[in-house]
Structures are given as structure tokens and as C-alpha cells.
Symmetry: C2
Subunit: 260 residues, 2 copies
DNA sequence: AGTTTGTTAGTAGCGTCATAACAACACCAC
DNA sequence: GTGGTGTTGTTATGACGCTACTAACAAACT
């Protein structure tokens, strides 16, 4: 069994199947149709277990059965399987989150109520999501700094362009000409190189976001040497708080966006 | 804990969370932000377990942490949570099904190769999906019979209309005027009432589908009396096989679509 | 007669649930 | 500043349920 097959089985497990169910499903796609014995021959699933495993897959609409002697099984098409699992996923999502919305509305604090808090976020994708969200919440101005184009990403890029189109003052700040070049085509986004005497000599700095005068996110990159190729990024953020106001002022004096 | 909350927790479990994780996630939406103690007070999750449970939720991007004393937690927004879980779902789907496509192409039988087989399908939705798929595979004619509008459904309805628009001969056959009325607005779909002497006096008959002269699906409804309100439907189908040819001829002589 | 099929039973291992213990810390009254 | 009390965060442990895996066997098939 190849590494790819192990990965596929692991993914099917995360989609709600057991290991045996995943193996049987894949085997039936290899076979087209097959008996329990056929399936156990191309997997390490014991023949005696194939019967109940395929019944379970049939219950979930992933396998069809021919009551012949011996019983023949076939997996539904890949598109049908994707669709079936997606429908189940959407159904469970709706059931769960509709309820969560209900309790949030009933018990949760007011939407406008923002606490004097600083929050941690970990992981590059989540930080990008949070940054894009904060960019969208800004009302007057956005300043975004990143040390490389990878740290801009599509979500942030889209959010910056939308806010610029909405009339906000948007500035992108980077030492890297490739980052600045991303915005050559956009009249309303200023892409600025920091003055040399204002650079923070810290290779772990990731991204910085300032919105209005009281929205802020700052991230740092993990130590690449511990896990080469894995740059665990951690950020903190705060919005509409006294902390954010103070920190925005502090950061602004440090990175000083191109007033020269 | 209400039945709704139990359902929501069960759904979150099906989305990959443990029971404790679901309870904590919901609790944090009730609270807005909270400590381990706050969470254990509004759930039955023991306080000592909240720390590792929230760490696990944070790893999955569903909770954010404020390293204060005591530690404060907040759940990400409902939209973020939906999105995060959906992205994970799509990622796992892609990883699994890309591999399945690979092995199907490499090992699976030729697409054109159809075996002399009859297959079982259970459940109303799956039968509807299969019927719609078979309708789409027909090339010259489609005949569809159902005893009530509920047994037509949106997927089948759409498929019938598309095939009629594609130029196939499409006939809908039903004793129920409400079913026939569905197609009053469509010039190319003939909706016909069976002759009285040709009716099958069988209250368990569900749906019948004939495509060309070698595609067939027949379903029966379960016994409503055993589980009131639950009409477990079972169908068999066959396509491009000798079985299908024979069965199509047999059914056609039985239901005889209005040649008189 | 030998092999295969389908069903059932049983055990081991693992992950989750739930309880318990405890050192360290925070808070408060004096 | 100190002592008492409560809280916090961590760690350990056992019970339980589910899945993986093996084994046995009657019936059916070849």
C-alpha cells in the first residue's frame, strides 16, 4: 500500500469513514465491481469484515449491492460520492451552526460590545483570514506591511483592493520590491519602501496591519531552523480597544509610512 | 441541556469534533469570551479538561486564546468556523477523491464496459439521484411513472425537462392528475393517464423509469404501517444490459403508454 | 470432498469521557 | 507582610465504547 493510498484513507477517515470503509471504497473503485473475497484480496480488510463494512457504506449511499451469489458490490461514482458526502457535511453544518447562531443571539454579548482584549492567532491561513477581516472592518485607513509576496496572499490582496475601491486610504509597506510591484496596477493603493533608518532589523517579523487608529495585527514567524520549510506564524490582534490605539501609535512611529 | 443542543453537538461530532469540543465551542458562543471555569459552569465539561479541549480547538482554528490570568478564550465567528470546517472538508475530499480517480483510471474497468448486472439502491434521495442519472444517460426516449408528485422531485423533474429540451421523446405516466399537471406547461413532455384495465393494483409500487429500450429502474415503497411516516423506498436498476432490455419490454406491455 | 460464503463471537488496543490530586498562584482580610 | 481560602493549570488514572483483527462454523457451491 502506497503512501498516497494511506493519505487517501486518512482523508476518508477525516470525512467520517472508518479505516476499513475507506479501504473498501477505494478497492471497489479499483475493481469496478467485486465480491467480498475480491475486496479482501486487494486490501488488508479481512473477508469476514467486508460484509458489514459494505453494508455501512451502502447505508451511507456510497456503495450499491447486487444480491447475487456471491454478493456483488460496486462503489457509486466519484462524483456521486463527493456529492453525497458534501450534502451530509452541509446538512450537519447547518444543523450545528443554526443552533450556535440561536444561542449566540440569545445569550451572547452585544455585537457592538468589544472588550479591551488582545487575542492570539496561530497559523498562516488563519492569520490571513483574520487580517482580511480586520481590513474589512476599517473605515478610514489601512496600512499593511509584509516582508514578502507570500505573506500578502489572495485574501489580504482582495481585501486591500476592495477597501481602496471603497475610498479608504490604503498603504502597502514593504522592503521587497515584489510586494510593492503587486500594486503597480492600482492607482489608489500606495506601495512604499520604508526609510532605511526605520527598518526593524528582525528577521522574524512577519506582517503588520494597522486600521484606522485602533485596529492592529502583528505577526511573527517561527524559527525556520527547527522545522525547515515550516514557518509557524503567530499573531496577535486587537480592534477598537485602548490597547489597539496605543499600539497603533507605537507602530506608526516605528514604521513611519513615507512622509519624507 | 436541550434536545436542540444535543442535536447540535451530535452534528459537530459528525463534523469531526469530539463531544467535549462541541460543547466548549457552543459555550464560548454563549459567553462571548470566557475562562475555563466559565466554560465548565455552562457545560458539563470538567474544568480540568477545558484546557486541552480549547487547545485542540485552537489548533483547528475554531477558538482564539488570550494569555491572561486566568486564560481567556473566545470562539471565532460562526462564519469563520463554517468556512474553516468547509475548507478542511474540501481539502480532504480533494485529497481522497483525486487518489480514487487515479486508481479508477489505472485499475478500473473501461468506462464503456457495462456488466450484465442489476443493482439495488435504497433511500428516496439516492433513488432520485440514480433515476436522474439514468434519465440523463438515455439517448432516444424516456418514460417515467410515479404515483404522486413527491415521488417526482426536483432532480427528476429537471432531468426530464432537460431531456425533452434535448429532443428526446419524454412521457410521464401517472394516475395522479397532480403529477400530470406538473407538465401542463411543457409542450414536449406528454403526461398520460394509464388505461384503467392496465393499472397495477399494488399500493407499494413507487416509481418506474424506462430509458431507450435498455435502461430501467423500478422502486417499491416500504410498509408504512411498520414505521408511520417513514416509507423506506428500495429500487433496482440496470442499464445497457440484456436484463434491462427484457425488463423494459415486460414493463412496457404492462403499462402500455397510451397508444389507444 | 473441498472450497467459498456469510454470519457471529471474542479480544486487544486506542481514543474519549470523567474523576481525582496537587503545586502554584491570586486574592483578600487583618 | 502574612495566613487562609479559593482558583488555576497540569498531570495521572480508570472506565467505556468503538474499531481493528482473528477465529470458528454451518450452509452453499463447485
Amino acid at each position: 500500500m502506497s503512501v498516497d493510498e494511506d493519505d487517501a484513507i486518512e482523508s476518508l477517515e477525516r470525512l467520517g469513514l472508518t479505516s476499513y470503509e475507506g479501504k473498501v471504497f477505494i478497492a471497489l473503485h479499483k475493481l469496478g465491481t467485486g465480491t467480498a473475497r475480491d475486496v479482501s484480496r486487494v486490501t488488508d480488510v479481512p473477508r469476514s469484515q467486508v460484509y458489514s463494512v459494505t453494508e455501512s457504506l451502502e447505508d451511507r449511499g456510497l456503495v450499491e449491492v447486487q444480491q447475487s451469489s456471491p454478493i456483488q458490490y460496486r462503489a457509486v461514482s466519484i462524483d456521486e460520492a463527493r456529492s453525497t458526502l458534501r450534502e451530509r457535511f452541509e446538512h450537519e453544518s447547518e444543523r450545528a451552526f443554526d443552533y450556535v447562531e440561536t444561542v449566540r443571539d440569545e445569550f451572547g454579548p452585544d455585537q457592538e460590545e468589544e472588550q479591551e482584549d488582545i487575542w492570539m492567532v496561530r497559523g498562516q491561513d488563519r492569520i490571513a483570514d483574520r487580517a482580511a477581516d480586520l481590513i474589512r472592518r476599517a473605515e478610514r485607513s489601512v496600512l499593511f506591511a509584509a516582508r514578502s509576496p507570500e505573506l500578502v496572499g489572495e485574501d489580504i490582496d482582495t481585501a486591500l483592493r476592495e477597501r481602496a475601491d471603497d475610498g479608504l486610504a490604503v498603504v502597502v509597506f514593504s522592503e521587497d520590491p515584489a510586494v510593492r510591484a503587486l500594486y503597480d496596477d492600482h492607482d489608489a493603493i500606495r506601495a512604499i519602501e520604508p526609510a532605511t533608518d526605520h527598518r526593524v532589523n528582525d528577521e522574524h517579523t512577519g506582517r503588520a496591519l494597522l486600521g484606522d487608529d485602533d485596529i492592529l495585527l502583528l505577526s511573527v514567524l517561527g524559527n525556520d531552523e527547527e522545522l525547515p520549510g515550516i514557518n509557524r506564524e503567530t499573531a496577535f490582534w486587537s480592534a477598537r480597544t485602548g490597547f489597539a490605539e496605543v499600539l497603533v501609535q507605537l507602530v506608526e512611529t516605528t514604521i513611519s509610512p513615507g512622509d519624507r
